[in-house]
């Protein structure tokens, strides 16, 4: 095929709407007769609810309705595996900010109405420390106790292996809660439709899950509910359950009032009333032979899951599976426990447990290298997974393992060999350089079946419409889908359109998570486009009186390969199909091999594909102020095939900065009563353009076997490696091991004052 659109940098589809302000996000929608709604939230982190009085609020002029748990006709519950979270709390609240009631009416009166709602609480003891929560005798947050989830991984025999090791390093590492901080706070609009149906518009990444929660709450068939994904202002794992919660409440209000109802969160509600990244405490032990061969890793993880289970079971398993880092370690033992605490619930956040365990694993690599007197890059190269390696969960990597290439390229671009000496020297400002590697499974893995549906509709003028069950939440999935269809059908990109996800029209393909959009979604789109191509070629062959194999599709034409002047416009072929009664809409279903693993040991084949990356970061630390400045950042990622180069760079650059935020600036804080102290950007420090380095993305392409054109995905992966590289660079600068994130100025100064009292590592 001639000039390919796959592999180029292509501007974002429908980008013009975004730069002109024409794009409509949910909170921009205006429906005739639309009402607004807002929730009354609990004042306590843990309390029984004795009484909720709403009569006065309901009488306020401008208020159309006030709903409590009593008004939910169906299931007052939500969750992923364990439905332990109520849409509106009835008897008990378990975190500050939990929803109690919904006020519906004119936008201007909502705040006043909320003030008129009186709640009588009986405070209960607040449990905030996850280790205390798991200890004997802790106040129970849920009937079943405070252990949200537990899972184990056993590969080989770690104790026997440790006995054979020449060097063993051990450490405890901590990471804090991170907030997604998408610029668009969550918003939903519920619109009553004919026949008792209701449509939910929202920026989201899991429309089918939202549909099920809404339908269950309303007590109606799933197909009475339609969820349409609106232009989404970022999600990063966050616009999932909270959208289901808001959607259900808005739908209840819409059906009660007969009018469209919008709920849009303030920034405080977005932080406090929606999921966050799990905080983690990780004990990690690594043993190796004198020449640097890692024989054993023993990892014990406690995740702080907050008040409700949300996606904790899945985060736990993903953290478990990735706890040994991207290395071929023959003996691994790992345990992950998630604890309930009286804080905002933790759920999916870009990386999904992998950033936390990667930080610990990569700090251990550096600490091990120091003990061995070995170069940190050499140690990583020695143990890095390659084709034929077996992961911590015993899956043999069969093809497209580009980790080593990312190590070499990142090191070469960053000048690792030249720079790594001369770090950690004295003086007020100290320089350091750090490296970190990561790998992460793509596809739903242990979370369930991974199957995606897509369609490719040909129009009589030769233009194409693509639909897929996976969502573009800003990352550029739709543009990638368009490129794939354009390439396969030879239709110019300008004549390809991609429709939004809509539960009425696009097939249920599960959640758009796990960095699966390009790999899994793109594959389904490619399959649909191939089906369309086959039909086109068959018809054109008969029109041109050649064999199908003699034909090529390009520039909107079907061309005879050896005689390019013999061609027919694609439009003509589509017309011919239509007028001979043949279908011109093509659907495809791409199902990945099922994950098969032992539930007790988590040994087996779990992921269909993997992404790999290596970051190198140079920092400067001011030892008087504790401030860390990033001097240089190189981020190499093996993505299999970069379908849209510019978009891949954007994911590397943006994902890295989220990892830098986790590593340096961001942490949700609570006081001793469970009040979230920094629910807005004044005190929750999202990196600004002044904080961000000029990340240098390096794209490595070691094709995978599953994804379209060998693509493997990238969305989440830069987060882990950036945070870990930063920690390693600071450790190198100070000559003291970093053991917690974020590396705040206070923590840096603590590290410096403890220098000499702790063993150097």
């Amino acid at each position: 095929m001639s000039a390919t659109v796959v592999g180029q940098s292509v501007p974002r589809l429908a980008g013009r709407d975004l730069v002109t302000g024409r794009a409509v996000y949910t909170a921009d929608m205006r429906w005739p007769g639309m009402l607004y709604a807002r929730t009354k939230r609990s004042d306590y982190a843990h309390a029984l609810i004795k009484r909720i009085e709403v009569e006065e609020a309901a009488r306020l002029p401008g208020v159309a309705a006030v709903l409590t748990a009593e008004d939910i006709p169906g299931e007052n519950s939500m969750g992923i595996i364990i439905m332990d979270h109520q849409l509106l709390a009835r008897e008990r609240v378990r975190y500050r900010g939990e929803n109690l009631a919904l006020v519906v009416g004119d936008k201007e009166v909502l705040d006043e109405a909320l003030e008129l709602i009186r709640v009588e609480y009986e405070p209960l003891p607040v449990v905030l420390d996850p280790l205390e929560a798991l200890a004997e005798g802790a106040p129970r947050i849920h009937e079943r106790g405070n252990l949200t989830w537990e899972c184990h991984l056993v590969k080989g025999d770690v104790e026997a292996a440790f006995a054979r090791c020449d060097v063993v390093v051990e450490g405890t590492y901590r990471t804090g809660f991170q907030e997604h901080a998408y610029l668009e706070p969550e918003a939903v609009v519920a619109v009553p439709e004919a026949g008792g149906r209701v449509t939910i518009y929202c920026g989201c990444q899991t429309p089918f899950h939202i549909r099920s929660i809404v339908a269950r709450a309303l007590g109606v068939p799933f197909t009475s509910v339609r969820v349409v994904q609106a232009t989404t202002g970022g999600s990063f794992g966050g616009k999932d359950e909270v959208d289901a919660e808001m959607g259900a409440l808005a739908a209840l209000a819409a059906l009660r009032t007969g009018r469209p109802v919008m709920i849009n969160h303030t920034r405080e509600e977005a932080v406090m009333g929606a999921s966050v990244r799990h905080a983690a405490i990780i004990r990690h032990r690594t043993g190796a032979t004198r020449d640097g061969r890692i024989l054993a890793r023993d990892v014990d993880v406690v995740l702080d899951g907050g008040a409700y289970s949300s996606l904790s079971p899945f985060v736990a398993v993903k953290a478990l599976a990735h706890s040994a880092g991207p290395y071929d370690v023959p003996n691994v033992r790992a345990r992950v426990r998630v604890a309930y605490t009286n804080k905002t619930y933790a759920g999916a956040c870009r990386g999904f447990g992998v950033p936390q365990v990667t930080f610990a694993a990569e700090r251990q690599m550096d600490e091990l290298a120091r003990e061995l007197g070995m170069d940190r890059m050499e140690l990583r190269l020695k143990n890095a997974v390659r084709v034929g390696s077996s992961t911590a969960f015993g899956q043999v990597l069969r093809a497209g393992v580009g980790l080593e290439e990312t190590i070499r390229q990142a090191a070469a671009v960053a000048g690792w060999k030249e720079r790594r000496a001369g770090t950690g020297s004295g003086g007020r400002v100290r320089r350091g350089i750090g490296m970190a590697c990561m790998m992460q499974g793509v596809s739903n893995g242990a979370e369930g079946v991974d199957a995606v549906g897509a369609f490719c509709q040909l129009a009589p003028d030769g233009s194409v419409l693509v639909g897929c069950g996976l969502a573009d939440m800003g990352q550029g999935a739709n543009t990638v889908f368009a490129q794939i269809a354009s390439q396969i059908l030879g239709v110019p990109l300008e004549r390809v359109r991609v429709r939004a996800v809509d539960t009425d029209h696009t097939p249920d393909s599960g959640p758009t998570v796990a960095s699966r959009a390009t790999t899994m979604g793109g594959r389904a789109v490619a399959m649909a486009a191939e089906k369309a191509r086959d039909k086109v070629v068959e018809m054109a062959a008969s029109m041109l009186e050649v064999a199908p194999a003699d034909l090529d599709l390009r520039d909107g034409m079907v061309v005879v390969k050896d005689a390019p002047d013999r061609a027919v416009p694609l439009a003509q072929v589509v017309n011919a199909l239509y007028w001979t009664g043949q279908p011109i809409n093509f659907e495809a279903w791409s199902k990945a091999p099922d994950a098969r693993f032992d539930e007790q040991t988590h040994q087996g084949d779990i992921y269909v594909e993997f992404g790999y990356g290596t970051h190198v970061m140079e920092v400067e630390v001011d030892t008087e102020t504790g401030k860390v400045t990033i001097l240089r950042h190189v981020a190499a990622h093996d993505v299999g095939k970069a379908i849209n180069r510019q978009a891949v760079e954007g994911q590397i650059e943006g994902g890295s900065l989220m990892g830098i935020g986790l590593g340096l600036l961001e942490e949700i804080k609570y006081d001793e009563r469970g009040n979230l102290l920094n629910p807005n950007f004044t005190d929750y420090l999202v990196p600004t353009s002044a904080d961000a380095p000029d990340t240098e993305p390096v794209i490595v392409e070691d094709p995978g076997a599953w994804g379209p054109f060998g693509a493997k995905g990238v969305g989440e992966f830069p987060v882990s490696a950036a945070a870990a590289a930063l920690a390693n660079a600071v450790s190198d600068a100070l000559g003291v091991p970093v053991r917690q994130l974020p590396v705040s100025p206070e923590y840096v100064l603590d590290l410096l004052s403890s220098q000499g009292q702790e063993p150097r590592a």
Binding site: V19, G654, M658, A690, T695
Partner: protein, 162 residues
């Protein structure tokens, strides 16, 4: 001159056109733009003037419209993102943002582009560092800022036809 009830008239020029709106005295500029004038290109991200998503130009100066009382715009010129393109022709910043991949989810984009315009109107040839500092009042969670800075730098260099 007052309107009905406790409202007052607000006269301003928005995107080159004079408008007259009846507003409450405590109305924020962002609400008047989005709700009264239907200009929803200006976004609300934090309501505290921290994220910059609500950035508009008030007499050429970048302001957080979530913090500006609407009446402060009396007799003044407001430029929102909708006013940047002329006769369907994108402004060089809009073109550059698209071409460089500086737009992902797009929510920060209207405010970011206007902040960049205000920066370049004041400092036509900023260094990369100055661009970063000049845009530091506008948060972006998707891009990592690099391609945004690339786009602004290119426009500053005059690489795009004005």
């Amino acid at each position: 001159m007052s309107g009905a009830g406790d409202r007052v008239w607000l006269n301003m020029v928005v995107n080159g056109r004079p408008v007259q709106v009846s507003v409450r005295p405590d109305a924020r500029l962002i609400d008047v733009l989005r709700d009264d004038l239907g200009l929803t290109g200006t976004k609300e991200g934090c309501s505290r003037g921290e994220c910059g998503a609500c950035t508009v130009l008030l007499d050429g100066e970048a302001v957080n419209s979530c913090l500006v009382l609407a009446l402060k715009a009396e007799g003044r010129e407001v430029l929102t993102i909708e006013g940047l393109a002329r006769d369907g022709q994108l402004h060089p910043l809009q073109e550059a943002f698209l071409r460089h991949g500086a737009v992902q989810c797009g929510y920060c984009t209207p405010g970011m582009i206007l902040a960049a315009k205000a920066l370049l109107d004041r400092h036509p040839h900023p260094t990369r560092e100055e661009i970063r500092r000049g845009l530091s009042g506008n948060l972006c969670r998707c891009t990592g800022y690099k391609k945004i800075v690339d786009a602004v730098e290119e426009v500053a260099r005059g690489g795009v036809r004005p």
